[in-house]
Symmetry: D2
Subunit: 489 residues, 4 copies
């Protein structure tokens, strides 16, 4: 008799994963409610766990950390009533692949330290490329780490600073770290935001009424609380918000910015605004560019839900080929817990997706997806579409081939598992088994992102290391572990 696997696992997890979203607010009643809303809006940046810290003069610093969704944890009185105060910060987290099973609640941010001049909580989005080296040094000097998270280095570096002021101690600490970091921190009276000199990860400032302010990874976190978008925190900038005023300083040596281009492609929400551009519109424009670069005769343009949708719309509009929902996503799939074997993986795509058979049958179908990482999901989707009777299947990918791992806060497989690191485009087409497979060019992606001239190889506007192997900060810890950088060309 037929046997089926049990629900649930995620048959569609062949994605790069943003590791964190951060949020902070000051000057409001019940800051924790605002922080929870902001975290809910940023949930796509980290779905495994979340934490909130608030400060209230009567009860001091309070914190709560939970595994699971914001909506399931930070909505209940028994949690929220323990988080009083008018200032607070929060963090949503996606753990790296390796430590998934071992992740303990103690690894969930924000981290907190009690110093002689008072407490400080800190939430970090990004990845420190010299954290292992710093951690080793700190332990040798007597620091005791609470977590396995590298972000904890920041709080220990603060504890070692001789500065008398917590904001100055944060500067001291961040001057020691390398890599990508957007940070939201709080003391008893201040809300603090910092971006690293390259500005790899986003961070925006918003205002509520006269004197309340919010910091958020993306503008969608401001929208949900009804805050007005003021501006992005600039690369290398630190803002300290206190008593309704925003003080800006530049703690780091100046450097040309290198914002992560994958935020445009996939990580950020389509309703967020990055660098003054609608994310949705950039993605739609990627579809337009793709249709120009890689046209094909077909009957339907279908997105791989949900992330391929804007590019598919753009492709349809540019090509004139009708847009259709050829694949339907089960909206109740939610998070996934069980790690199935590769074999069950192969069966399981239909837990999350179902083909619209009546629509697809006999048609030449263009499928638009945002990226191909290991290629496993693409194979499943091709099988589904053919099994439903499609005449032809053409894949169009809204990003260039992902050939290099990210060390700045994105969970990527090691290089050996990246399909594009092992194969040419045509080999990939054959491996996935489709009639055609085309990726947007890096220049085309830059154009869709508003750089009309395409990528300047001497001074690229973005960090695009995952596509180009051009790492703006040398990943010291990884090099120590044997990672080979791309040879200079």
């Amino acid at each position: 008799m037929t046997q089926l696997p049990r629900l649930p696992f995620d048959p569609l997890d062949d994605k790069l994963k943003e590791e964190c979203g951060i949020f902070g607010v000051i000057g409001v009643t019940d800051a924790a409610n605002f922080v929870a809303l902001g975290m809910h809006a940023l949930q796509h940046r980290g779905q495994e766990a979340g934490g909130i810290v608030t400060y209230d003069p009567a009860t001091g610093f309070n914190s709560a950390r939970r595994f699971g969704y914001v909506r399931d944890n930070f909505t209940k009185a028994d949690v929220m009533d323990t988080l009083p105060g008018s200032i607070g910060i929060g963090h949503v987290r996606y753990s790296t692949a390796g430590s998934k099973g071992a992740t303990a609640i103690r690894d969930v941010q924000p981290f907190f330290g009690e110093f002689s001049m008072g407490g400080c909580a800190i939430a970090h989005n990004g990845n420190l490329t010299n954290a292992h080296q710093l951690r080793r040094e700190l332990i040798e000097r007597g620091s005791i780490f609470q977590s396995s998270s590298d972000s904890e280095c920041i709080i220990h570096l603060m504890a070692r600073s001789i500065q008398k002021n917590l904001a100055e101690r944060i500067k001291d600490a961040l001057r020691r770290v390398e890599g990508a970091f957007s940070v939201v921190a709080m003391t008893r009276t201040k809300l603090i935001g910092v971006r690293d000199p390259l500005g790899v990860r986003p961070l925006v400032l918003g205002r509520l009424g006269e004197s309340a302010y919010a910091l958020s990874s993306e503008t969608c976190g401001l929208d949900i609380i009804g805050a007005e978008f003021v501006r992005e925190i600039e690369p290398g900038e630190m803002v300290v918000i206190e008593d309704g005023k925003v003080h800006s300083t530049r703690p780091f040596a100046p450097a040309p910015s290198r914002f992560c281009i994958f935020e445009h492609v996939y990580f950020s929400r389509p309703d967020s605004i990055l660098e003054g551009r609608s994310v949705y519109e950039t993605r739609r424009q990627i579809g337009v560019e793709l249709a120009k670069e890689a046209p094909v005769e077909a009957d339907l343009v279908c997105p791989v839900p949900d992330s391929g949708t804007p590019a598919a719309i753009g492709y349809s509009q540019q090509s004139g080929i009708p847009y259709a929902m050829g694949i339907i996503r089960n909206q109740y799939m939610g998070r996934t817990f069980i790690e199935p074997t590769e074999q069950i993986r192969n069966m399981g795509v239909r837990l999350k997706l179902n083909v619209n058979r009546a629509l697809i049958k006999g048609k030449r179908v263009i499928l638009v997806d945002d990226s191909v990482v290991r290629g496993t999901t693409s194979i499943k989707i091709r099988e589904m579409i053919l099994e439903a009777g499609a005449a032809e299947v053409h894949f169009r990918i809204a990003s260039p081939p992902t050939a290099w791992p990210c060390f700045y806060g994105v969970d990527t497989p090691e290089r050996a598992k990246l399909l594009a690191a092992q194969m040419t485009e045509d080999e990939m087409r054959a491996f996935i088994g489709v009639d055609s497979l085309k990726f947007i060019s890096l220049d085309g992606l830059y154009r869709a992102a508003g750089v009309a001239a395409g990528r300047d190889p001497k001074a690229p506007k973005y960090c695009d290391a995952c596509f180009s192997g051009d790492y703006p900060v040398a990943p010291a810890d990884m090099i120590e572990k044997g990672f080979a950088m791309k040879a200079a060309e």
Copy 2:
């Protein structure tokens, strides 16, 4: 200082709700896994709770009932290991509005009864219009009800039958009830499926391999387990599946069928096939009809996510006005628990939706939604769109005005709360505050559903009582409570 409500509540619940989905399987190893998958695919038909019953010769009948999603309950070994056997049925449930708070786990189906010739479990989709009268009579004769659910009448009627065979007892019982019912039932060796004479609710048959069979409310439940769609159970038909064979009988007096047209509009999944037609395609065609019936000059056609999407695509294709995702849905919103006050309700739409400001600003926007029930959500969406700077807002609704309550298994407000029962179309437009508001006509809807001639008022193909007030079965219990039928015209 500003104050915000806590997550979560559903700011977008101005929908009619299907009350149930049913599923059954026979002839497979670990039937419970199949049933859970089928229920997962049918989750949109009932999200509050679910239950599974299986039969295994060693342990007898086993059952598990849980509040919450299938993926959160029927995926864990501690539950699934208690459900052995090669035959099983399942039920997902949405409780009626009135009893929401009071719903107890004892109201969760399938219901089970032990009879002298063995046990029988039963799962019911629909609503019995004479259940109150039957219940009163059964209690007077000594039956003790376990639940507040009217569906339990069926099992007590079976207990009173003098038939020696459980399948015959089911017939006896169902001949006594009135209203809408699709039923899946099981004994130790049989899987049974029945549709009421009018065939108001759907039920389909699928086959796995040589001798395993499944019954499902919709074809998407067959797709997920890899079953082949055989055919719909016909109105008034009963199938008894045993030993790999399907026996069909007709227990009821013949009657012209009246399938629920709202299944096409909203309830069923877009990837399901109803009456041989793709649900997605019917909805897209509704958009085409709407664009013909109610054109308007505008810059963008945007769906109200997610249910308005196919009709919006159709409207765009027919009108040539570009399709765009002007409103983004937070995919982590999930279920909603807290019943907020009307005031908080007004604030809260942004928990679930966010406008794509950069896209909408200065544009004339057509919003396509599937239905308007009380109108509360429509007002919130109009506010969002205008606040984001839209120049004009035009609503196009993919169903006729909902002016009458449903008594056949759909949760509708009482008639006094249905906007269309109180206002003309133009009054509704003014109430919602948009530049224009148009509903598809009933004839247009019939055309989109494949009835080229439109609705035949003498013999309508569908049950469309919610639009027309033309009830194919008199709702006896409700009439006893004072409900006034529409006067004959």
Copy 3:
């Protein structure tokens, strides 16, 4: 390396187990609080689960059933706030050995039925000896059972009654059942108590203030709520309490009473009063009788904690041999969940008990225990005492040999597993491996319980079937299953 079993299991469960305690109250604010207190006082009568039903005019009948201790369940606002009203009943339950694993929450009392004249809840202590036969008949006539509990027959018999009044329907139902029953029931306005004609199980009446009343299995349930003990409900009596008045009737044919003598020996709490006698004092008197019947030279009299304590005190006082706590019980042992293998069982006595080595070493020790059922625990205790260096071990048992199973509401092993059904006293001594083993005589037990003349074989005052095989009610269901009564002598 040494390996140890995991906590917890109960190494000392060689006891007969009372199956239930019942409690009810009327005329108080927040009746559920009183019921919970009463159930807490009666927890020794049933530790597996408990349930409460209350009635409140605003919300109707409400119930809550939980596995586990009263103190862990019926103390929390989320449960207690769902149980409003000034009338309520409760039940604590110990499941029978056989169904331990399979016990479902649906088997937890009180049971409830909705009748045409209103609802009725019922809690039952005892066992119905013709329940299987009744159940079969009821199912054949169309009743659907909710539980596997035989007590549910009562509610179905009520549903079949043609009486117009619920109290009369209870009488009708109880006239059909055989065996032992003390019952507490409630309607919207009445609290009802009944004892079977033989009065096998206890039930007492108490008063709070002017017009509030309580019913409890034992007087300790009255003490905890500060109620005054009024009197025992008499064998064959039914009391209906309404509007502050107690109405007494005699629904059954008169019969000589046969109260369970094991309530005196072990089941009831030592601070309860049964038949006007202190349970503690009766047990101490058993020790006095034992010392007279079975003297022995020794250095110490030690109780097997906790139930052997009063008899050990009496034995010490009569014999002049010093009383000492030679065995200390771990008060944190609590309930036990895991069913260990017989081998682990043998290791595990020290989880619950520890010998006071310094005290025992080199001493001749008399151990006083309340009963010996299978003998397994006695062997473990003998081993512990000898391993600690005792010179001699003498067992004195505060009850006669338990040679027959109980069918009136006590969980006993089948006859083949009762040590005393298989061996003579001397064989038991050898089996357990002690220097001497003596049981009190049945006459001695009667004397300790206040019957100076000992047991009258023609008309024994008590039900002592477990010792004598003299069953006051023939166990119809068991005889049908093949149980052989004792041959007439």
Copy 4:
């Protein structure tokens, strides 16, 4: 209508509370099982929470901390399976009164630190009298505390040590702390035990088979795992157990020992052996001394359960007045959660205790209790006894008046709340309202504990500061906060 409080709170908490029990084992399979058993045996020393750390070469150091009883937490596979390894330590905790509500799971020991030479876990019983000063200094130097527990200082002092070896670092750290400490620690290969120079808190060594060893606060922890009692760790001694060998060193300057005499009176279990003496026997002897020092004519000697029992037996044996269980304890009371108002407190004694009315009525009763702290419980018990009809009530207390707070690891009220700090013995008698009240003398207590000559005021054998105000270590932190030591006499 009468109203009653909800269960549960502890009506009998007028006790000094030992704050911790510690346990460790090395050289066994599944060390966590042994540790859990040891902690279960030591549960009386700390009931609020517990933690276990183990080390396994494959998975490294693992830990689990839980609120609640050992039996409820450290018995489940989902916890125990995460604790592999052949070496482990555990801790049971009772939080101090002040922080009860605020205790977080992060305060639950063992504490763990990762050092450059490997990890170390540590469990501490006692109290450090200079912890606040040390903590302040450590934070100033850059340490980040994880908990609010003063015991965490030890791990930070270790991190600051320049020793290359963890055992040496422990010595460094413990040489800096003052006060009372028995410590169990572990590295990847060593189990370590230390007692402070005065030996205030107990710690014993046991052996299992050839090469496995255990450390436990009391011998009852050895008994439960079947370990042989080897000897006490001596005051000022450190033992390092590795590869089946025990190495002993003396890290501290020698000092005369001052073991806590209250361990004999109340804290330790009656089946433990302290200083070569049976705790039970010492307590019985206290009763004998009390009967000599404070005789009275009466009918019954009753213990206040359970801690007064051995002394009551001794009093009865010395006086010839019969011993009786006049007060029965509800064995299901368990832990208590809700902090009631003083008024409810007054009502509530009957939740835990019930008087054996039939026994007490008309009698002159001697009640033997172990101590009187604030006197609140004594008043409730007197009320119960008199309300049950006792003719006279005489209190005999098995310890001298508790007039001074303990700073060495016992939770005591501040001095102003200690009844004996405010009143003479006769004033206390009047306050409690009994016919007579007598405490054992300090000399009598020493005699019962085996010091025939009584207390030597120049060089007392024990720490008896709670009775005498003679503190062997000046409590530096408390003096800084304003505590006034007893003036020299």
